[in-house]
């Protein structure tokens, strides 16, 4: 029986979809069977980040309404043998086209066949959020080291705690800028974790390559040398029960000549 995890944040643009895709990919790379559910009805993105947009025929609302069978709607990512699947969101359906019971039903149907069911929640705390949370055994809350994102994350943690899941919510701090952390202009990792009062699952540094790779339909996790990729791989290992120390975030010092010739 698999575990279902909702990836949520409250605030938009902090990297829910990117994190869902990368955590899912990292777990698949570790040999686990993973299915990703896009619950952002009307504004789907997960398919684009994974480079699977052109394979969508049926979506989650088709499954919920009985227009398609679950296996017809699942899209297999051919790069990962039989390990990574996507259940896409519709583009045209109304946001009320899905209700929490239907999502819970679909997740329950998927859990026996997969090790992880990852639900990518839309931004906000309305219907879409309630749908995503309904099917989950645990939550991964994404935030960035900004006051607005942290305060929205706080609100979301509060909502999740009202209806406790079987697993405790865990935190990922995304888009950390090492130089801002070093000069003290960004919120501190320990400070955020302590403020939100939930376990820290991982930290991801801000990296141009994350955007570049998703534009080409690949996830950063596929690049083993990238710092953000290592962050997501560590998250996956922690989800699988390993004890992995937090990566030390260091600012790369530029040499004298580099500073002289590449001023910016």
């Amino acid at each position: 029986m698999g575990t279902s995890l909702v990836v949520t944040s409250g605030k938009g643009g902090v990297g829910k979809t990117t994190s869902s895709a990368n955590i899912g990919t990292a777990l698949a790379l570790a040999g686990k069977r993973v299915v990703l559910l896009d619950l952002d009805i009307g504004l789907r993105n997960l398919d684009a980040v994974l480079g699977l947009s052109n394979r969508i025929i049926y979506d989650i609302v088709d499954v919920a309404n009985g227009r398609a069978r679950l296996h017809q709607a699942l899209i297999k990512d051919k790069r990962f043998d039989d390990l990574l699947y996507l259940l896409p969101a519709p583009q045209n359906a109304d946001k009320d086209a899905l209700n929490p019971e239907q999502v819970a039903q679909i997740v329950a149907e998927l859990k026996p066949d997969f090790d992880f069911v990852i639900l990518d929640s839309p931004a906000g705390i309305e219907q879409g959020f309630r749908n995503a949370v309904a099917g989950a055994d645990g939550a991964i809350v994404i935030t960035t080291p900004e006051i607005s994102a942290v305060s929205d994350a706080d609100r979301v943690v509060g909502l999740i705690e009202q209806k406790p899941m079987s697993l405790k919510p865990q935190l990922i701090i995304n888009r950390i800028r090492p130089h801002m952390l070093a000069d003290g202009s960004s919120m501190d990792i320990d400070e955020i974790t302590k403020h939100l009062g939930i376990d820290l699952l991982g930290i991801i540094t801000d990296d141009d390559q994350v955007i570049a790779s998703s534009n080409s339909g690949e996830t950063i996790v596929m690049d083993p040398d990238n710092a953000a990729s290592r962050g997501y791989r560590d998250v996956a290992r922690r989800l699988l029960g390993e004890t992995v120390p937090l990566e030390q975030i260091t600012v790369q010092k530029r040499g004298f000549w580099a500073r002289l010739f590449h001023r910016d």
Partner: protein, 218 residues
Amino acid sequence: MDAVILKGRADGFELSLDAAAAFTDVCTRLEALLSHLYKDTPSGNVNFVIETGHRLLTQEQRGAIEAIFAEYPRFAVRLLHSDVVDADTVALRVAKARTTFAGGIIRSGQTLAVPGDLVFTGVLHKGGAIRAGGSVFVMGNAEGVVHAGYPQNAYAVAAGHLAKLTQVRIADAVEIVADEDYGDDSLCYMSDEHLLVHTTIDQLQAVRPQIFERMEES
């Protein structure tokens, strides 16, 4: 004039219902006529054509006529014919026969749907869709989904600039363009085996002569 008149035809019997008579009168008369006929023809099955003239039967009226016929097991209605068609049906038929020319931008999440053939000269963004009851001819820059022959017209084709699309669909079949080698002027159609096949547009006359001839006429 009687509400129902029985006529002989080369291929059997015709029951002509007077469009000006009340429907209750038609039923009474039909009942009487059939019971009389049933006695006159003691054996053998008889098929009738029912002509309703300038009257359109509602679903309930059809049911009433079927109920009368159900009493006479050897009698059956072969065809129900009317001289008139309701305006909605005509409008749809006209729309299906017409070719629509469309341009503009179809953005992600939007769908342009037409009942007949479509010549598309605009821009179709990724995530957008164009859907036609007939064939689709793509002249513009198109990256989304093109669906021809929606929902069940397997004779329809998709043609033109298909190479950059994400999917081509005809009737109930789907092809993912990235997996295939589409050229600039492509033609996609459904084969006799119900599979989507793509070739070049100059093959249109060979694979779909009727569509080709219609284009020649207009």
